[in-house]
């Protein structure tokens, strides 16, 4: 299958705008579950406002949140797909810039030293583009994630040691949720990366934070720890917006990798309640949009 790069550019533009407007159904379901179990009056009111906002965004065809985030494109290339990788990355970048200028979206991206905003949502190394491969025939999938800064500032790395064991992991996750308080716009998805190297463990935490609700860590030990931690963090009382309550997190997600005999790396990355993502899937039948 050959990939039309103009279609990729259009998809990169459409995905950014779509992600900012429509929350995936798993996140909407997550709100319903929290509303059923929340015992705090203020917390219920805050959750109610969040759910109302989702409806208003759809009714008024507006963005859910003012934060257009740091744009991230995750590309997965299946088997039998012919595409010029460099040109693909350029097409994604052009689509991202066009979404920003043509919609127009607030460009939230600046140079880290000069703080100059090019008003394209692009800059050095941004949009973040990850390219991976799988064995699905004749398929190229692009997932777009506008990653909000309030939750992204709730990112933590600890290079724990083996003697600290799993207790270090549990303690670190609990303390990160406490340190984040209301700043990460809870209820959050708490993404936890375990193992690997310092860079890999942070990437795993981001993948965990942006996984659909209801998905489970592929590793059974990781899956068991996800369940324990999901229950535990909602006993902390942080609540929606840090104003107290039971609904601190939709879930704790874990992604893990093998690590060194001397290492026990832990990373936490949070996703806010506006857990936005959109997906375009290219097949010989055309382009299909989803989540």
């Amino acid at each position: 299958m050959d990939i039309d790069l103009l279609a990729v550019e259009e998809a990169a533009k459409a995905l950014y705008i779509r992600a900012l407007k429509v929350l995936p159904p798993d996140i909407k379901d997550g709100f319903s579950r929290l509303q059923q179990h929340e015992s705090g009056a203020t917390a219920q009111s805050v959750l109610g406002t969040m759910v109302r906002n989702i409806a208003v965004a759809e009714q008024t065809d507006n963005l859910l949140c003012q934060d257009t985030g740091i744009p991230i494109y995750n590309v997965t290339i299946g088997r039998g797909v012919a595409v010029d990788g460099h040109a693909l990355m350029q097409a994604l970048r052009r689509g991202c810039a066009r979404a920003t200028r043509e919609y127009p979206l607030r460009s939230s991206v600046v140079h880290p030293l000069t703080r100059i905003n090019e008003h394209t949502s692009c800059g050095i190394g941004v949009p973040v583009i990850h390219i991976d491969f799988d064995d699905t025939p004749d398929t190229l999938a692009i997932e777009m994630i506008p990653k909000g800064s309030g939750s992204e500032n709730g990112s933590f790395l600890k290079m724990a040691i083996p003697a600290e064991g799993i207790a270090a992991i549990k303690t670190f996750v609990v303390d990160c949720v406490l340190a984040a308080g209301g700043k990460t716009c809870p209820p959050t998805i708490v993404g936890v990366g375990l193992g690997g190297t310092s860079d890999l463990v942070v990437a795993l935490a981001k993948r965990a934070a942006t996984r659909p609700l209801g998905s489970v860590c592929a590793d059974p030990e990781g899956a068991a720890l996800e369940r324990q931690l999901s229950e535990a963090v909602n006993q902390l009382g942080v609540g929606p917006q840090g104003l107290g309550g039971d609904s601190t997190a939709f879930a704790v997600h874990i992604e893990l990798a093998a690590t060194h005999i001397t290492m026990n790396p832990i990373a936490v990355n949070m996703q806010c309640h506006s857990a936005r993502r959109a997906r375009a899937t290219f097949t010989p039948a055309g382009v299909a949009y989803g989540f």
């Binding site: 906002n53 208003v56 949140c65 500032n153 308080g181 716009c185």
Partner: protein, 203 residues
């Protein structure tokens, strides 16, 4: 838990009447301010021609569309999506914002710290919590972008919005030392050991 409708600007007495857990709806005028705005105003001593005395500021950097200036869009901007951002990053600007510019109310999400509580108590101010991530809804409370200053910092300019029925907002920090965030933080800290024990960890 009273509800207050405030026609902006307000007096010190009106702000001192607010207590945590009260709710507030603002009318008429609201200013938008952000990290870069305050870094330039207070660290680089840039001055604004806009008069913030007695007013409310919201921690924001809006999505806007540039349009020809008109009666409907006097600043040459149409609102697209306007919400709020995490306030904590701007903690150290609360006091200068009140002392130099005369601001009375700060609106944001996630709360401010003890330094801001002290400034609210000393000078007569309060923090109103708005629900973060609900900008589509909040945009419906904004009628117009009336004015803009320091626009070289766009989108982190100093914005003046005309508002109608902006709220309800929750009084989360008042001028009497009350802070819902401090209360929640004390509660969560007290729960930490028990939560860790439930995970088989001795704190």
């Amino acid at each position: 838990m009273a509800h207050h409708v405030l026609e902006m600007p307000v007096t010190e007495a009106q702000v001192r009447a607010l207590r945590i857990n009260d709710t507030v709806t603002l009318q008429r005028t609201l200013y938008g301010i952000r990290d870069a705005t305050q870094i330039h105003m207070f660290d680089r001593d840039r001055r604004t021609r806009l008069d913030l005395h007695g007013h409310a500021v919201i921690h924001t950097a809006p999505n806007v569309r540039k349009v020809p200036a008109s009666a409907e869009h006097p600043a040459g901007y149409a609102p697209v999506c306007i919400g709020t951002t995490t306030s904590d990053r701007m903690e150290r600007f609360t006091r200068p914002l009140m002392e130099r510019e005369g601001v009375r109310l700060i609106i944001g999400k996630g709360g401010l710290r003890d330094g801001s509580s002290e400034a609210f108590a000393a000078l007569g101010g309060a923090y109103l919590a708005i629900v973060g991530g609900t900008a589509a809804l909040e945009t419906t409370w904004i009628e117009q972008i009336e004015d803009v200053d320091l626009d070289d910092l766009n989108p982190e300019s100093l914005w003046r919005f005309r508002i109608r029925d902006f709220g309800p907002l929750l009084v989360a920090m008042d001028s009497h030392g009350g802070s819902l965030y401090r209360t929640v933080q004390a509660d969560t800290a007290a729960r930490r050991a028990q939560v860790l024990a439930s995970l088989g960890v001795q704190a």
